[in-house]
C-alpha cells in the first residue's frame, strides 16, 4: 500500500488509462463511447474501486491517499493550458473586433435563458432544492462554480461532478451534437456554445472545428465566468 502513495502511481495510472482509451478509440474507428477521456475516466475509477477493495480500504480514502498526489500534478498543467487559449483568441482578433457586441449579448442572454431551462428540467426530474442550486453554476469553470454553489445553498461536490461531466459529454458527443442541432453553419455561435457548455475542454474541441470556433469558445470561458459570478446569485434569489 505504501508503494502506491507516491505521486508516481497517480501520474502513471492517468497516462496508462488515457493511452488505453486512445488505443480503443483508434481500433473502434472513433466510436464515441470509446472517446479517450471517457474511457480513461471509467477505467480509472473502476481500477481505483477494485484496488481499494483489494486493500480493504474506503474508496474515497484510497483515492485521496493513492491517486490524488499524482493526479494533482497532472491537473496542475490545466492552468498553463487554459492560459494558452489566449493564442487562438489573439489569432482571430478580427472576428472579436467585428462582433464583440453580439458575442457579449449572446453569452449574457444565452446563459440567463439556459439557467431558467435548467431549473425547469431539474424540477421536472424532481431534483431537491439543494440539487437545483448545485446545477445553476455549472456553466462556469470549477474554480468559479464551486464557491458560488456553496454560497447559494448547493452541494459543491455535485457541482464539481456537473462541471466535469459537462466537459466529458462535450468532448465525447460534441461531433454528434453539432451535427444533430445543425450548429456548424454559424461558427461564432457554435464556438460560444461549446465554450459555455464544455469549458476549457469544450474550447479544445471547438478549436478542432476551426479557428473561429476555438477563439469564440475561449472568449466564452472568460465571459461566462463573470456572468455566472454576477447572474447566478441573482437568479437563485429569485427562485428560492
Amino acid at each position: 500500500m505504501s508503494l502506491l502513495t507516491t505521486p508516481f502511481f497517480g501520474i502513471c495510472l492517468s497516462l496508462l488509462v488515457y493511452l488505453c482509451g486512445q488505443w480503443l478509440f483508434k481500433k473502434s474507428h472513433g466510436l464515441f463511447i470509446f472517446q479517450p477521456l471517457f474511457v480513461a475516466m471509467v477505467l480509472g475509477i473502476t481500477l481505483l474501486v477494485l484496488l481499494a477493495k483489494f486493500f480493504q480500504q474506503n474508496v474515497t480514502q484510497f483515492y485521496t491517499q493513492a491517486y490524488k498526489p499524482g493526479g494533482d500534478l497532472v491537473f496542475w498543467f490545466l492552468n498553463p493550458a487554459t492560459i494558452a487559449f489566449a493564442i487562438p483568441l489573439y489569432k482571430r482578433n478580427d472576428v472579436i473586433k467585428k462582433y464583440w457586441k453580439e458575442i457579449l449579448a449572446g453569452l449574457l442572454v444565452g446563459t440567463t435563458l439556459s439557467l431558467f431551462a435548467i431549473v425547469l428540467i431539474s424540477k421536472l426530474l424532481g431534483l431537491s432544492q439543494t440539487g437545483i442550486a448545485s446545477m445553476l453554476p455549472q456553466a462556469a469553470t470549477t474554480a468559479i462554480a464551486l464557491p458560488i454553489s456553496s454560497a447559494i445553498g448547493g452541494n459543491s461536490a455535485i457541482t464539481a461532478m456537473a462541471c466535469i461531466l459537462n466537459a466529458v459529454i462535450i468532448y465525447a458527443l460534441g461531433d454528434w451534437l453539432v451535427r444533430f442541432f445543425h450548429l456548424n453553419s454559424d461558427p461564432i455561435g457554435t464556438g460560444l456554445g461549446l465554450g459555455t457548455s464544455g469549458h476549457t475542454i469544450g474550447s479544445a474541441f471547438a478549436l478542432k472545428l476551426g479557428s473561429v470556433q476555438g477563439s469564440m469558445a475561449a472568449i466564452a470561458v472568460v465571459v461566462i465566468g463573470v456572468v455566472v459570478d454576477a447572474v447566478v446569485p441573482l437568479v437563485s434569489r429569485l427562485l428560492f
Binding site: G71, V74, A81, L127, Q138
Partner: protein
C-alpha cells in the same frame, strides 16, 4: 473565413522551450496574485486572469506570438489527458451518485445540451439581427439595389 495577418507571419523561429515555460509560469504567478485581490463572493480564478493577461500582452505586442505559440499548441493538444484526473476525481463522489445518481446525471446531460444549443442559437439570432439591420440601412442609402433585386426576381 480568410486567414488573418497573424497566421500568415509564419516562419519566425519559436523561442526555446524553457523561455516559453518561463513566460507561462510568470503569467500564472502574477495572475495568481491578482486572483487573490477579488472578494470571495466574486471569484475569478488565476487561469482565467492569465488568459486575459496573455491576450492583452499579445495584443499590445509586448509578447511575440512565436514566444508562446508552440508550447501553447502542445498544451492544448494534450488537454484531454490533462483532464483525466478531474474525471477520476469523481471517485470521491461515488456516494453522491449512488443516492441520486441517475437523476443527477440526466439533469447534467440535459443542462449541457441546453447550454450548448441555447447559447449557440441566441448568438445566431443576434448576428442575424445585426445583418438584417445592416441590410435595411443599405437599402435606404441605395434604392437602386432594391430595384435591381426586384427586377431579377421578376425575371425568374
Amino acid at each position: 473565413m480568410n486567414k488573418t495577418h497573424v497566421e500568415q507571419k509564419k516562419g519566425a523561429a519559436a523561442a526555446p522551450l524553457l523561455v516559453q515555460m518561463g513566460i507561462y509560469t510568470t503569467i500564472l504567478f502574477v495572475s495568481n496574485l491578482i486572483s487573490g485581490l477579488f472578494p470571495k463572493s466574486f471569484p475569478v480564478p488565476a487561469p482565467v486572469i492569465g488568459m486575459i493577461l496573455l491576450y492583452v500582452l499579445l495584443s499590445a505586442h509586448l509578447l511575440k506570438l512565436e514566444w508562446v505559440d508552440s508550447l501553447g499548441a502542445f498544451l492544448i493538444s494534450i488537454i484531454g489527458f490533462l483532464f483525466v484526473p478531474s474525471g477520476i476525481s469523481l471517485t470521491a463522489s461515488l456516494d453522491v451518485m449512488r443516492t441520486a445518481g441517475l437523476q443527477l446525471i440526466l439533469v447534467i446531460i440535459c443542462s449541457t445540451i441546453i447550454l450548448l444549443v441555447v447559447t449557440a442559437y441566441t448568438t445566431r439570432t443576434f448576428i442575424w439581427l445585426r445583418k438584417a439591420h445592416l441590410e435595411k440601412h443599405k437599402f435606404v442609402h441605395q434604392p437602386l439595389a432594391i430595384k435591381h433585386r426586384i427586377h431579377v426576381k421578376g425575371e425568374e
